[in-house]
């Protein structure tokens, strides 16, 4: 083992090297039982690694699909705006001899009141449900604007400068204007004028992040509290168990009510799919595979406070909790070596799971009624079942809720 170093040359002549030659080819004597037990543990470790790798891949795919869906959704929302016809530039018409009249016409560059309006825009304007535009279009045709400037100017003033006695309605639709860069200072576009913004409906996914990244729970010595079958044989006992809990998949539907403009309360339904795989090792070398799947339904309750609402973005905090109960579970115990099916074990399956969490949410609104959001936060889970779950391994965990919210 030549190394390019003076130190190695020095080491070559070191008389202590005799120790190394004395130990050459040394093999640690493990007895057969030790070797078998170690190999079983190695195989279990490999299974865990493979499952962890699969989960990692699943999470990656889920993330990519979510991002792709969000991108498609954003595209669907914004493409019509990108390809929408540009608003026409307004140009003053022929100079009027009346100075006041000319000033008024130039100042108010609303497309409605200007004669340079493209004919293509006329049907759109006429079809508009906006009361102010209808009002403007009623008696004064575009020809009118040209021929009867006094009428047109009078109508512009009504549109642009609301009277002092009448408060300006922020909900009133705006007309195109050169002064606006769309989406910056204008209120959010909305689908309907009807209804308030008191209620909201959200479709979301809920992920526990620690469990996605961490190692599974491993117990070398575990009591037989879940097992009343094979261990009844005389002299047979459990020498160890290895657990692997998959990352629970949760999706939910939540309803919210805005108590005030900033404060809202949310509740709903949360479905959770949880999978576990356990290998039980017995002293005679038998390994029993235990596959467990549970479907739970939960009720979350959250209080959220909106801190910032700027443009299309909203920043809020959310605090609350949830309680989940299992609706259905399946449990299969098999022995790989003998291919035998063993009757399901009897255990307390009432896995009521309590949790509390706090999160910071960021919402992006495509329009007034539709937005997407992400809520990273922390949660604490309390499992009341005797059967350990992934939440026993990671009671305190990072969480991430993502979803789409509808306001109505």
């Amino acid at each position: 083992m030549a190394k390019n170093s003076i130190h190695t040359d020095e080491a070559k002549h070191d008389p202590w090297m005799q120790i190394a030659s004395g130990l050459e080819g040394y093999e640690q004597p493990f007895d057969a039982a030790e070797q078998d037990a170690m190999f079983s543990a190695i195989e279990a470790g490999m299974k865990q690694r493979e499952m962890a790798a699969k989960q990692h891949l699943r999470l990656k795919r889920t993330f990519i699909i979510t991002v792709a869906c969000a991108a498609v959704l954003a595209g669907v929302m914004f493409l019509p705006r990108v390809f929408a016809p540009e608003p026409q530039q307004t140009t003053p018409i022929a100079k009027s001899t009346d100075e006041t009249e000319e000033k008024e016409t130039v100042k108010s560059d609303s497309i409605v009141a200007t004669p340079a309006l493209n004919n293509a825009m006329k049907p759109a304007l006429k079809a508009s449900a906006s009361p102010s535009l209808i009002h403007l279009n009623e008696p004064a045709t575009f020809t009118d604007t040209l021929t009867q400037p006094n009428i047109a100017i009078h109508k512009e003033e009504e549109l642009i400068k609301p009277t002092e006695t009448e408060p300006q309605n922020p909900e009133q639709p705006h007309v195109w204007s050169e002064d606006y860069a769309y989406g910056e200072d204008m209120p959010l576009p909305h689908i309907s004028d009807k209804g308030g913004d008191k209620w909201e409906l959200a479709l979301f996914t809920h992920t526990t992040l620690n469990s996605a990244l961490g190692n599974p729970y491993v117990a070398d010595e575990a009591p037989n509290i879940y097992w009343n079958g094979i261990n009844k044989a005389p002299g047979l006992y459990v020498t160890g168990q290895r657990w692997h809990s998959a990352v629970p998949i949760s999706v939910g539907l939540s309803f919210g009510y805005k108590i005030t403009q900033r404060l809202s309360v949310k509740t709903g339904l949360l479905y959770t799919l949880m999978k576990q795989h356990r290998t039980i090792y017995y002293n005679n070398g038998i390994e029993v595979e235990d596959k467990f799947t549970s479907h739970s339904i939960g009720v979350p309750l959250h209080l959220s406070y909106n801190w910032i609402n700027k443009g299309r973005f909203e920043l809020y905090t959310s605090i609350g909790g949830a309680v989940s109960i299992p609706l259905k579970y399946t449990n299969r115990l098999t022995n790989e070596n003998n291919n035998i099916y063993i009757n399901p074990e009897v255990y307390d399956n009432k896995q009521v799971l309590w949790s509390i969490d706090a999160a910071v949410g960021l919402q992006y609104n495509f329009c007034k009624e539709i937005g997407i959001y992400a809520e990273p936060g922390v949660g604490y889970f309390i499992n009341t079942s005797k059967r350990p779950t992934i939440y026993d391994d990671y009671p305190f965990t990072f969480i991430l809720r993502t979803g789409m919210r509808l306001n109505f």
Binding site: A11, I19, G22, G45, M46
Partner: protein
């Protein structure tokens, strides 16, 4: 050790996750891997854990093994075993910081003559009696043929500190051998 083409097939089978290949490699190398790990790990239970972790590491990274880069399969497994053992010592804080130790006054570092007559098990017993820190430096220098610069990088210490530890480890080993088996 296996023939090159056999080894190549074995590695490919390992990379595919073949359970039989794992069993074959395990049976073939468990003693030798155990021997390497035992030089570093004093406790029997910990030794088993480290051997298991080594094989898990070997099996799960088999797809990364390239003969032209890493030499023989055994050499590659050997390096993994050493890495896993040192990681175990470090994670369990068994490599205590003894940088402040003084260079010993005695310069008696020569091995006692009886060393040539000791069995492998006796030598292993003496090495096991060293503290983890001395044992690790001794192992890296005498068995893995690492330079003090390399040892310093592996253990996160200065090369001089590595040399000082080795010097002290040799003295300790000498004392242990003489006390157990005599000088001649």
């Amino acid at each position: 050790m296996a023939h090159i083409s056999d080894e190549q097939q074995l590695v490919e089978s390992l990379a595919r996750g073949d359970k039989n290949a794992r069993a074959r490699v395990y049976k073939q190398y468990v003693g030798a891997i155990g021997g390497i790990c035992r030089r570093y790990i004093g406790n029997d239970n910990e030794l088993k854990d480290v051997v298991q972790d080594t094989f898990i590491e070997i099996f799960s990274s088999a797809h990364r093994f390239r003969r032209q880069d890493r030499g023989s399969l055994w050499g590659w497994m050997h390096r993994i075993a050493v890495r896993v053992a040192i990681r175990h010592l470090r994670n369990n804080k068994l490599l205590e910081n003894i940088d402040e130790i003084e260079i010993p006054d005695s310069t008696e570092e020569e091995p006692p003559p009886i060393i040539t007559r000791l069995t492998a098990e006796q030598i292993m017993g003496c090495i096991q009696s060293l503290s983890a820190t001395y044992r690790t430096v001794c192992n890296l220098y005498l068995f893995e043929h690492k330079t003090h610069i390399e040892i310093g990088k592996i253990l996160g210490i200065e090369p001089d500190s590595s040399a000082a530890r080795l010097s002290r480890a040799k003295q300790k080993l000498r004392e242990i051998i003489i006390s157990r088996y005599g000088k001649e």
